[in-house]
Amino acid sequence: MQSNPKNRRSSYSHLWFVLPGLAFFLAVMIFPILFAFGLSMTDWSGLGNDVSFIGLANYTEILGYWPYYRAALHNAAIFVAILVFQHTVGLYIAVLLNEKPRFMEFYRTVLFLPVILSLVATGFVWTLMLSPNIGLINPALRSVGLDFLALQWLSNPTSALGVVIAVTAWNSLGWAIIIYLAGLQNVSEELRQAAAMDGANTRQIFWRVTFPQLSPAFTALSVLTFIGTFRTFDVVYVLTGPLGAPNFSTDVLGTLIYRTAFGSSSFSSAEIRFAFGVAMALLTMLVMAVICRLILKVLRAREIET
């Protein structure tokens, strides 16, 4: 240590280069999280100066707060459904597009468009289309003889979550396609030709040679889907409102936290418990981070090193 003070000084000088980024990160990430954590240990309703420290009481309350579990369960259902959808339909379409069909650019644009469009706008259009009163979907179903499918989509507690999943799937399909397409384009043509030479048929080439090369895409997509579906809010808010109608059957963590922190009614703020909402948001973040880490650990282990 003493022997080489010069060396030591230079080994810290690089920190100056990190400083601007670090300062920014502290200001917009660390500080707000710490502040929120402090807030979550109070009973602040969101209005006024009536604040007292209650320790981890909010967190212990969440553990027994069943709407939280109900919402998380809905998130989980959406996650599983979307995950399966993206790794099947998304992958399949990506494979089709990777064959460079005619009008490929067109298909790609059309399929990616929902990702770019604001869900608030498209979600609103979906509610209009799905409306049993003015919507297009039910008359369309009836006209092709599928009367039994002409349901009150969003009013039925069982189908409402299905609709939320369907709209989310429609919205996020573009991501799956783009990520898988990028992965597919990284799989060298020669590798597939080699497999063909080695006697593999199209299916064997895909599953034994191409698909294993897609594991980084699989990992990325799974993690993105996990994060995306567990922080979903806009689809539910637009399709079924802040109450996750009907009767909370589409209530997710996003709407629950929103409702708790900001209220769902313009007439009464009696239900608003801002600090409790913050505690739910932080707990959700923590649990998600842990699960993300696990998913990454499991999936990364399966990836190949090149």
Partner: protein, 392 residues
């Protein structure tokens, strides 16, 4: 084991006016090692892909043995291929890479293991069977690719520039290894390369291609000695054959005038190129650098087999002195493209450079005016209009 026959094999890619492969006719006999060589874009890789069934031909047919396989899938052709990139499966161990063709063919596990071990032994890969290809060196990967090709004991090997990713030293080593393996297995092999040294050293026969058109197919010796045209002449041999515009004269004793110097053509050359006996006037004269020697080192020079010129530049390679003589003659360059056959016009100060392989005992130095003796029994003559050899 089987022969391979190509009949009028053609390929035109979408959006391209010129065919990448233009009516290729070629017969490769059973167990033969044929090298397809040519500059990049000459159609050699395309030909290989068509034989392998990786692409569909625009015309023509491929036969393996007696069987027409033009419409067969790759996997049904009984062909193995070694790719330039090796195309090893990165997610599989070396063992699985080599075993893959057998696994696909649902060969019994014990049998697979036995055969993989045997192949690995031959290729010195036994120590790496459990590793992923990503951990191997270039040469080792190359051998894995070979292993995967030979394990299935196919009728035909296709090799697409398999050595081009290796460094020079390793390339020399692998060159002979591949040649040995091929000879031992005695499998018909079609080997694509752009490297004339590989072509000359490995192939039983070499097919030279240019612009999708086959130029000449012959044994390495024949290619060297009897090039079919100026392209082959300048492609084979290093440094390439010197090509100059020259003028033929005389009827019995033929003379050739190069700039202001005249050489007497020896009968052996006339025998090799009977086309010149009736020909007078412009021709393209070809002289290999190794056929030119410092006249001071050749005691028995005769009149009409020497030229005098200034040494423009000298490269000493130890065993040889490559001497660039400034000749006042119009030099002919043959590029990759047909239209690249350009003649440097003879200016007042500039001329052509004639490369000569002098013995290291030669005392010639840059700036010296030297007398060079030319082996007039080994001259080459080409039609100035078509570039074709005047050998008929």
């Amino acid at each position: 084991m089987a022969s391979v026959t190509l009949q009028g094999l053609s390929k035109v890619y979408d959006g391209s006016a010129k065919p990448s492969l233009d009516h290729l006719d070629l017969e490769i006999s059973d167990g033969e090692f044929l090298v397809l060589v040519g500059p990049s874009g000459c159609g050699k890789s395309t030909a290989l892909k068509l034989i392998g069934g990786l692409e569909d031909p625009s015309g023509g047919d491929v036969y393996i043995g007696e069987q027409r396989v033009t419409d067969f899938e790759s996997r049904d052709r009984d062909i193995a291929m070694v790719f330039q990139s090796y195309a090893l499966y990165p997610h599989m161990s070396v063992f699985d890479n080599i075993a893959f063709p057998l696994q696909i063919a649902k060969v019994d596990k014990a049998e697979i293991s036995k055969r993989v071990q045997a192949v690995a032994e031959t290729l010195h890969l036994s120590a790496f069977l459990n590793q992923r290809p990503g951990r191997l060196s270039g040469g080792q990967r190359q051998r894995v690719a070979m292993g995967r090709a030979i394990i299935r004991q196919p009728s035909v090997f296709l090799m697409d520039e398999p050595l081009s990713n290796l460094d020079a030293k390793l390339r020399v080593k692998m060159r002979s290894e591949i040649a040995q393996i091929q000879r031992r297995l005695d499998v018909t092999t079609i080997y694509v390369t752009h490297d004339q040294v590989e072509a000359m050293t490995m192939g039983d026969r070499v097919a030279i291609m240019r612009e999708g058109v086959l130029q000449q197919v012959a044994t390495p010796d024949d290619l060297y000695r009897k090039p079919a045209n100026t392209f082959v002449a300048s492609f084979i041999g290093s440094p390439p054959m010197n090509l100059f515009r020259a003028s033929l004269s005389g009827t019995g004793d033929k003379q050739i005038t190069l700039g202001d110097q005249t050489l007497t053509i020896a009968p052996e050359s006339i025998e090799a190129y009977p086309g010149i006996s009736a020909h007078t006037g412009d021709v393209i004269l070809g002289i290999r650098p190794e056929d030119i020697e410092d006249a001071d080192l050749s005691p028995d020079t005769r009149a009409g087999d020497t030229i005098t010129a200034e040494v423009a530049h000298l490269e000493s390679l130890g065993a040889d002195h490559m001497v660039h003589l400034a000749l006042e003659a119009e030099q002919v360059h043959v590029g990759d493209q047909p239209q690249d056959q350009v003649e440097t016009p003879l200016g007042p100060t500039s001329g052509g450079l004639c490369i000569c392989r002098f013995s290291p005992r030669s005392k010639a130095r840059s700036g010296d005016r030297v007398r060079a003796r030319i082996a007039t029994d080994n001259l080459h003559f080409f039609d100035p209009a078509t570039g074709g050899a005047l050998n008929q």
